[in-house]
């Protein structure tokens, strides 16, 4: 069993966190990275792009170019229909899953 429990947990859910962020609004790489790094869901922008590439290959997100205020093109990521369905499916399973884990793990016995 790995000693870094947090890293394993984050690895398991980071894709759905990205889908959740993109459901609210399309975002480009930098803003997605900032949102995830600030919440300690990823260590750096280097973790983000392989996941985005995977999500795009699976047809869960798609990209489009939009001009920024400075007139430069930015690549935006947005959720596809399949991505929305995948996120809904995750939500349905996540709550009962965390409840079950909480029941099994408990809150621990206080030690004086």
């Amino acid at each position: 069993m790995t000693s870094d429990v947090g890293a394993q947990l984050r690895k398991g859910v980071v894709e759905y966190c990205i889908l959740g962020l993109l459901e609210r609004e399309p975002m480009y790489g930098w803003t997605l990275s900032e949102a995830l790094v600030s919440r300690k869901m990823i260590a750096s922008i280097g973790t983000l792009y392989p996941v985005l590439t995977r999500l795009r290959a699976q047809g869960l997100v798609t990209t489009y170019d939009e001009l920024s205020e400075s007139g430069r093109a930015r690549k935006y990521y947005r959720l596809t229909k399949d991505g929305t369905l995948q996120l809904q499916s995750f939500r349905q399973q996540w709550e009962p899953f965390t409840t079950t884990v909480q029941e099994l793990v408990g809150k621990g016995i206080p030690h004086d």
Binding site: K11, Y28, G29, W30, I42, A43, S44, I45, G46, T47, Y49, P50, V51, L52, T53, S70, G71, R72, A73, R74, K75
Partner: protein
């Protein structure tokens, strides 16, 4: 749209990032470099420097990207035969076949995708400069007639530095 010149720190950072990502899948490498480039290009040097600080070391970004691309692979890999041969030649190749043995090791190091550009520079320049500096200092201290002892002392110091450098390279080899 008015094109502003790319500040040198941005160009250097992008080059370093691209080199560090040499072992990442081509698509991921291109996405990361393009994504960061679109954020940095157009900024003035000072603002870009702040962003670069936030982004962090390109080697770390590349390591994260490689780890995320192969999520089930262990973070630390065992060096392969090529990497071991390269390091062995760098450490003792120059003593077995003078100069040429080391050069073969250096060529293998530069040609390999198992190390970053920074590792390659350190792995070649540090031992080479050590030999030149150690030999020169000895000659300056003992005079031009001390050529043979200077080479022996220079070789001994270079061997120790090469050994430490080789251990570092083996630890940093990606395959």
């Amino acid at each position: 749209m008015i094109d502003t010149p790319t500040p040198p720190n941005v160009a250097a950072y992008l080059r370093e990032l691209d080199a560090a990502l040499s072992t990442a899948p081509a698509e991921v490498r291109a996405e990361i470099v393009a994504g960061i480039e679109e954020e940095l290009v157009g900024l003035d040097a000072a603002t870009a420097a702040t962003r670069i600080d936030e982004l962090g070391d390109p080697v770390f970004i590349a390591a994260e990207a490689t780890g995320a691309t192969t999520p089930d692979s262990p973070t630390r890999t065992t060096p392969g035969g090529y990497s071991i041969l390269t390091v062995v030649l760098l450490i003792i190749g120059g003593f077995v076949v003078p100069v040429i043995g080391w050069i073969v090791g250096a060529v293998l190091l530069v040609a390999s995708s198992a190390w970053t550009r920074r590792d390659k520079l350190i792995g070649t320049l540090v031992p080479a400069l050590t030999f030149v500096v150690a030999t020169t200092v000895f000659l300056l201290l003992r005079g031009p007639d001390a050529g043979v002892p200077a080479f022996i002392i220079g070789g001994a110091v270079t061997f120790i530095v090469g050994l430490l450098s080789g251990i570092r390279l083996l630890r940093r080899a990606s395959h």
